[in-house]
């Protein structure tokens, strides 16, 4: 029986690859959007404008304080009652981008704040404009403490993208769920799904660890 099911599972492998493609599409799109929005929010969060800082801070707290699944349901079920009809895919991408942006915002802000105050002062003394300071002095140094946790955050976004299967996005988790109704070998089916996620996430985790080690060493040598 087991080998029969294994054979069946291998036959539906294209279905899994299609699901994997959907996972990559949702996660990849959200990852790019989250990085852009997260950097903008993070720079605002590290700014001197108190109102801006606290608005973003409150939003980040709201998002970090609620489960991603609940956020997905809110975007998918509640926005339509405000007149914004969304398909499952855009709803998933919006929820995932927003959640990612909030976490990246905190990473970017703390990276910027870790740059010594003197750097900014000497940049001001050298006559650099605010934008030039950010572009040439602050961000390049902040990047060193931003990039390792940023890659770690990407792994979280990819893993959290599995949750959007709950609103019917046919990603690789959903494919597993659909397949297990037909091939009742849960260990085998979700073992395969797990391996597919592992193949993406494990190299990224190692990359993050590697960069953390490398960048810390460089930082102390300064």
């Amino acid at each position: 029986m087991w080998s029969f099911y294994f054979h069946e599972l291998m036959r539906s492998l294209p279905f899994f690859l299609k699901g994997l493609w959907m996972t990559v599409a949702v996660a990849g799109l959200s990852l790019i959007a989250a990085t852009i929005i997260g950097f903008i929010w993070g720079i605002m969060r590290a700014s001197r404008n108190k109102i801006l800082r606290s608005i973003i801070g409150a939003w980040v707290d709201l998002i970090r304080g609620t489960p991603f699944l609940v956020q997905v349901f809110i975007v998918f079920f509640i926005l339509p009652s405000a007149g914004i009809e969304l398909e499952a895919f855009p709803a998933a991408a919006i929820a995932l981008s927003n959640m990612g942006a909030c976490f990246i915002c905190e990473i970017v802000a703390s990276g910027i704040l870790a740059v010594p105050q003197g750097q900014r002062e000497s940049a001001t003394a050298s006559g650099l404009s605010n934008y030039q300071q950010l572009r040439y002095i602050i961000l390049p140094q902040a990047m060193r403490s931003i990039i390792p946790p940023l890659v770690g955050q990407y792994v979280l976004i990819i893993k959290d993208s599995s949750v959007v299967s709950a609103i019917g996005v046919v990603d690789v988790t959903r494919v597993g769920w659909l397949t297990v109704q037909r091939i009742p070998e849960g260990l085998m089916v979700f073992g395969l799904v797990g391996i597919l996620y592992f193949a993406i996430c494990y190299p990224l985790i190692n990359l993050s660890n590697y960069m953390e080690r490398r960048m810390t060493v460089t930082a102390t040598r300064l």
């Binding site: 509640i78 949750v163 988790t173 849960g186």
Partner: protein, 222 residues
Amino acid sequence: MLEAFNFRVILEYMPLYMQCFLATLWLSALSLIGAILVGIIACAMRLSQSKAISRTAAVYIESIRSTPLLVQLYFFYFGLPTLGIMLPEWVTGVIALTLNSGAYYAEIIRAGIQAIASGQIEAGIASGLNYFQRMRYIILPQALGMTVRPMLGQAIVLVKDSSLLSLISIMELTRAGQMLTSDRFMPTEGFLTTAAFYLILYYLLKTFSSWSEKRLIFREAH
């Protein structure tokens, strides 16, 4: 969207919400205790001199960290019955949550222990402290001081992650929102109330986290 917000329905469903809130609380608490125990054991194994034991722990930790919790949950939910192990849903849920967070706790504890310079331990030995005294006065105060914040952070993650248990039809906070959606088609009321309950837990844990950082015995370690 909010002008039609129906507080009466929320009041009507409040007993259900309270019951589900308590369910989330005790499911999380149970998983948290289990996860810390699993974390301590996995960490001890990871730091073991024996390569085989250390490798086993590494495989466990890495495979958990590289796959989504939802896939792990489905793995146990659909997989255990095929092995002839029939468990109530909530037990399956607690097992998945425990094993998932356990891997993260193992890494947190390991980081805490390894951050203590070996010179400190050697100095402790040279000062004539025995193993227990070294643990009590040198290693644990510093390791706990460094790990208390990430440990509480992981506890927050665990509480939020427990929302995924709703997908294997365990009655907890997110499930209450789903019920309000399916019974009355009131997703706005349902999921915003759910989110509010999670936020209460989030702010409690967050406040406790910053309080413990300031007030606990471990201040001098920073």
